[in-house]
Symmetry: C2
Subunit: 339 residues, 2 copies
DNA sequence: CTATACTGCTTAAACGTTTAAACTAAGTAT
DNA sequence: ATACTTAGTTTAAACGTTTAAGCAGTATAG
């Protein structure tokens, strides 16, 4: 059916061996001493026949696929969508193709994706790991397949990663809220053991401690992943049970969006009745009645650094790891004012 | 560096030929009459050595890569992110891997992606085409590479596609606004020649005509792509130059978000001063002070049908095309009320 | 005791590349 | 005349699979 043109077809058309065609089309005619006329004929024939090299065969020969496997926690989450975009751009610059997969925060999916990608001989991975994927990452290490974690990492796993200083991000956001005079600053996070969740909690907790505040369960809201019902139940409880909360720090972008919506539904005025600090940028904030304060992650830099490190690792003969911790930025707007 | 295990390694370990190993690991031991003991030994060795088949070599041999190239107009746009998700899910079910690329609405990028994917021997494409990509699609047809267009299509290109009835969508939304008693219904769209833009305009225009309304330039706002400056200039003009506009229909999700934000910035009350109808669902709407009416596209079905058709096309010996036009749904909420 | 069939395996070619090595024909140096 | 160089090309093996064809050796049928 499909008219696939190979080196052999060009060779036949011109009347030379495939070797010559290969040399010419890889611009190695000089070192292979191909005559200019032959080279010209080969190039013309290649164009004429719409030749497209078979990257699979090349990869098989070279052992390099020039492909990077990107495993996102959730491709439909714009945070990861933007990250994917920067990673694609940077990879393109370095001559790599990106194969994207979404684990949907499920380590089983992630494992299947990993195997699919390994079978396709990708040269390395960039991964936003789901909870519970430690074993898989160890496995990658055993196989000597280079990978870089983004957004999240595991303390006990030897690996390269590019993340932000999550402790500092929530610490500074909390301190800002306290500095503005808020008394009862609540913290909303997911109920998981991912390091960035822990770090963000610790940052909040430390800032509270420094201000002489006690973190009680009345200030905490830990909700299940991918479970809006659980969120609504717990967050409504937090905000309506007379806990006197006058400020809330949300620790992820999904929690931020859910939280703002719930506050709006509850008719709680921001910032008059409660101040709000969100995590990550979102187009949604643009439509909120009150300009939203948030922790801004350097998405572009995360993507670029991850690709750069991965490409270095792929090129290196001996394994090494590089850890990058970037700074985030507080974007302070009306939502965290003290009224 | 990387410890890649091949059939040969297993064959050596067990003391048989690679052929036997291949038969066993493909569960074809019966037809190849491999003895149960040998088969067992082979499986054990494969497990022991962590064997992962080389899909590249398989594809080279079979001429099938079991991979689908997905070219999105913009991966950071959640509309396409969600679509990508359903396409990945459905492809997985059918045994295909998806390779995603984002053209960023630029046909040059799209062309480069296409070539990269062809070189990787993808079996077919799913494409949300950028403006100006007609020539590339014709080229795909020449090469007999199956593809399915989504979201957009071209009248003059023979192809399969899965789209919604855009004419009907805007027609019905406009009719709804008129039925509610709005007099001057404005229409905001991109200034391009993509069929879905034209269809959406025609739907609006027809509904206006049916109501005995004339569509004048005072009601139209055609803005440049990827150019918020142009949008703000023209849309502000539209809304503030005494055009008496009492309802606006936005024709894409990006225009909807930009529009809502601008209306909010201008202090124009929705729906009291102006009614609003948006296109596509968005998390952002959740945070808008007024529940937003919108045209809801069946994302899941679009993705599923696209994959199903593509897989059929890949499997067919002779070329065929299938066009699917799905219905969208109007979600009517407060934003389009007549006050 | 000779065909024939079956069992359990190996061989070898092929997919589309790359690339070291070999080959031929001509030119140059001694 | 002989050896060596150079230019321009071909040959062939290799990457990791698949699979048709072949080959022993044993079992069964007549």
């Amino acid at each position: 059916m499909r008219n696939k043109i190979s080196l052999k077809d060009i060779a036949k058309a011109v009347g030379v061996s495939t070797a010559l065609v290969s040399y010419v089309l890889n611009n190695r005619e000089r070192e292979a001493r191909v005559s200019p006329e032959t080279a010209k004929k080969i190039r013309e024939a290649a164009k004429e026949l719409n030749y497209q090299p078979n990257q699979l065969a090349k990869s098989l020969k070279s052992g390099k696929s020039l492909a990077i496997g990107l495993i996102l926690a959730d491709i439909s989450n714009p945070f990861f969508g933007h990250l994917a975009r920067t990673i694609e751009d940077e990879s393109k610059k370095k001559g790599y193709t990106v194969i994207v997969g979404s684990s949907d925060e499920n380590y089983k999916n992630s494992e299947r994706l990993m195997n699919t990608f390994i079978e396709r001989q990708i040269d390395g991975f960039i991964i936003a790991p789901a909870e519970g994927s430690e074993a898989q990452l160890k496995y990658l290490n055993e196989l000597n397949i280079p990978f870089v974690l983004i957004d999240r990492y595991f303390k006990e796993i030897e690996s390269s990663y590019v993340v932000i200083d999550n402790f500092r991000a929530t610490h500074d956001a909390t301190a800002k809220l306290l500095e503005l005079g808020h008394q009862n600053v609540a913290f909303v996070c997911y109920n998981n053991q991912l390091q960035h969740t822990i770090d963000r909690y610790n940052g909040y907790s430390k800032a509270m401690e420094e201000a002489g505040k006690k973190v009680t369960s009345k200030l905490l809201c830990k909700v299940k992943f991918n479970n809006p019902g659980d969120f609504h139940l717990k967050f409504r409880n937090l905000m309506t049970k007379g806990n006197k909360i006058d400020a809330v720090l949300f620790s992820t972008n999904t929690l931020s969006t859910l939280g703002l919506k719930t506050l709006m539904d509850l008719g709680i005025k921001i910032p008059d009745e409660v101040a709000v600090f969100c995590f990550d940028e979102s187009e949604s904030y643009d439509l909120f009645y009150c300009p939203v304060s948030y922790v801004s992650q350097p998405l572009k830099e995360i993507g670029q650094r991850a690709v750069q490190i991965l490409v270095e690792m792929i090129g290196a003969k001996s394994g090494f790891h590089r850890q990058v911790i970037l700074n985030s930025e507080l974007v302070i707007r009306e939502s965290c004012e003290k009224r």
